[in-house]
């Protein structure tokens, strides 16, 4: 599997390599959907139409696109509060994501979850978890069910660099390794926890990959800004999981352009760091990739325009949408649909 340090230059020539034209255009589109929807979410904050907090994946689109693009229907995603990207990448309609952020009735969970808890079981998005590390063991459980039932789906769990320092990470890695579970742990190393550089608080250079050996797993670090590299790493890990080969831990090097959350102006970044990463912007890089494979400019522009229109339409639909009916306040606390705790 490709390591960041010795990553080969992108192959030139025919689009009909292992990834192929159709998949590449899909990977590109997914990245643009995430970019445009996240940018729109940010604009809607500024207009005070998105309340509360929100954690964007601007700059990290290739990780979400690559891993989701390599999934099959039935594979399961477990996300963090920074989960809009992974939710969109599984094909959840933009309008439902923006609607949830805006607290509208058409939101994915009708406003009951909000930005940090996007969930769409129908699309295999098994929840977005806002307690650091909590979903790694949960992903193990879903993978255990697959193993128990002889099902071939893979559970894929996304989390940040900061998450590698909480106990649940280590419990889950050991558990998954000992039980040989079909789960793939994806660390998006964007160099920061909330505001503190991960290197200030971590005993090893690569917070996920350098711990892999402790759990008998190979050390994998990849370029998380190149959707092809991500896609290939994902396929390899999923194949291993489906074949009964157990878990993988993949550290993706990437960078977030916005602050940690809407409240964060990201003043802690060293001079020039953001600009350097923007030179390797995943979408810019992927456009160049498509061109190198001979995809015409018009095809690229058409995708850009289609996505922009989709996001615009979704925004208008959300703005016009009703707030949730107030009676959902007390529904679905218990399985009987209500919240009764006594007779």
């Amino acid at each position: 599997m490709a390591k960041l340090e010795d990553r080969a230059p992108a192959p030139k020539g025919s689009l009909n390599d292992d990834i192929g034209e159709e998949k590449r255009l899909a990977l590109y589109r997914t990245q643009v959907v995430i970019r445009e929807a996240e940018q729109r979410a940010y604009d809607l904050f500024l207009q005070n139409l998105v309340k509360g907090t929100s954690h964007l994946s601007l700059g990290q689109e290739a990780v979400a696109a690559g891993f989701a693009g390599a999934m099959r229907p039935g594979d399961l995603s477990f996300c963090t509060y920074r989960g809009h990207a992974h939710t969109l990448a599984r094909g959840v309609p933009i309008v439902q994501v923006l609607g949830e952020l805006m607290g509208r009735d058409i939101g994915l969970m009708r406003g009951k979850g909000g930005s940090m808890h996007l969930t769409s079981v129908e699309h295999g998005v098994m929840g977005s978890y806002a307690i650091i590390g909590a979903h790694l063991p949960i992903a193990c459980g879903a993978a255990w069910r697959a193993q128990y039932k002889g099902a071939k789906d893979v559970s894929v769990c996304f989390f940040g660099d900061g998450t590698t320092n909480i106990g649940a990470f280590h419990e889950a890695l050991n558990f998954a390794a000992v039980w040989k579970l079909p789960v793939v742990f994806v660390c998006e190393n964007n160099l920061y926890m909330e505001y503190t550089p991960i290197s200030d608080v971590t005993a090893v250079k690569h917070p996920a990959a350098d711990r892999a050996a402790s759990y008998g797993l190979p050390r994998i670090v990849i370029d998380g800004n190149d959707a092809d590299v991500v896609y290939r790493a994902a396929i390899e890990a999923y194949d291993k999981a489906r074949a009964g080969g157990g878990p993988s831990l993949i550290e993706c090097m990437t960078y977030r352009y916005s602050g940690h959350s809407r409240a964060d102006p990201a003043k802690y970044r060293p001079e020039g760091e953001l600009e350097r990463w923007k030179e390797r912007d995943p979408i810019k890089l992927y456009r160049e990739r498509l061109r190198a494979f001979g995809v015409g400019e018009d095809a690229i522009l058409r995708i850009d325009a289609e996505v922009k229109r989709e996001v615009d339409e979704a925004t208008e639909q959300c703005k016009a949408a009703a707030p949730p009916a107030l009676d959902i306040l007390t529904t679905d606390v218990y399985a009987d649909g209500g919240f009764a705790w006594r007779n």
Binding site: M109, I131, A134, G167, Y334
Partner: protein, 326 residues
């Protein structure tokens, strides 16, 4: 009918459900080959095999997290947390994950699982292996909480918990494992949220849970024989859902309320019941409700100290008698 220990009832209860439904699986530390540190799971590994009865590392977060992930996707896991005190190291799942997933997802995510755990004092284990922590769980919307006091109820409530579509925290009392009781033959299935009048009486209602039930019953016998006071004893059994009908119905007859709680005083389950009685049965009451609890202390290890900390038969009887006859 057969006489069974509470410990063997746990085994029979789990076996009954695992036999019925192949999606019921059981995980925890030392529960498989070793048969459990309280020997309350002996034989299950041999009966159901290593795939359905699976030993885990000492990873309470992984145990509960894995149970949740499995429950969300179609299994019906039973997970053991060896001592209920250890709930504190995996409380995220109890407080934030199990009970909120359904609500936050607007009903998309289900979490039908059972966490069974050894609760309570009396074994001289000291402050970190003796607590009664059912109130830690009772206060969380989305959870159900039960605590059986007899072998029959262990089986019936275990079945109800496993078949329930919500996450259930199942508190077994460590000091009851060796106690015996009559258990009917065949399948036993109870319902969650039903309290049981275990001794009818007319002068006062005593509410108790788990180990406090046999103590309240013994106190009631003592009060009857020594003072002619006839107490009704109710085994609350299920804190969530809570059977307030049975309890308020009893108060309407006896007009006096006592709670016997093993938990330390502040925010014990009895406080909620007294509050409900004050709200809804104030004019039924002939005197102030009385809570008999462990003081607001960590539990000590030494036998004499632990014995004066937990509500005893003598303390219960003395307190009830003093309230009714002074």
């Amino acid at each position: 009918m057969a006489e069974l220990t509470y410990r063997d009832a746990v085994i029979r209860g789990i076996a009954q459900e695992m036999t019925r439904d192949p999606d019921v699986v059981f995980i925890g530390e030392d529960i498989g080959k070793a048969g459990g540190v309280f020997k309350a799971t002996v034989g299950l590994y041999d009966q159901f095999g290593p795939v359905r009865v699976r030993d885990t590392p000492i990873s309470e977060q992984a145990i509960l997290g894995a149970a949740m992930g499995a429950a969300m996707t179609g299994l019906k896991p039973i997970a053991e947390i060896m001592f209920s005190d250890f709930i504190a190291v995996c409380f995220d799942y109890i407080a934030n994950e199990f009970p909120k997933s359904r609500y936050m997802s607007n009903g998309q995510v289900k979490c039908p699982l059972v966490v069974r755990t050894g609760n309570g004092g009396g074994a001289r284990f000291g402050a970190q292996h003796s607590q009664s922590v059912e109130n830690w769980c009772m206060m969380i919307p989305g959870l159900k909480v039960v605590a059986p006091s007899s072998p029959r109820d262990v089986i019936g409530l275990m079945a109800a918990a496993v078949r329930d579509p919500d996450p259930v925290i199942f508190f077994e009392h460590k000091s009851l494992y060796a106690t015996k009781g009559e258990v009917p033959d065949g399948e036993i299935v109870d319902t969650l949220g039903s309290a049981k009048i275990v001794r009818p009486g007319k002068d006062a209602t005593i509410l108790a849970l788990a180990l406090m039930v046999p103590r309240a019953l013994a106190a009631a016998e003592k009060l009857k024989s020594e003072h002619g006071i006839d107490c009704e004893v109710i085994d609350v059994r299920s804190l969530v859902p809570l059977d307030t009908k049975t309890i308020l119905g009893s108060l309407a007859r006896t007009h006096r309320l006592f709670t016997v709680e093993e938990n330390p005083r502040l925010c014990g389950w009895g406080a909620e019941l007294v509050s409900i009685a004050a709200d809804e049965a104030f004019y039924d009451l002939d005197g102030p409700p009385v809570r008999i609890t462990t003081p607001h202390i960590p539990l000590p290890a030494a036998d004499l100290l632990e014995d004066i900390a937990l509500p005893s038969v003598e303390r219960i009887a003395e307190r009830v008698q003093r309230s009714l006859q002074s």
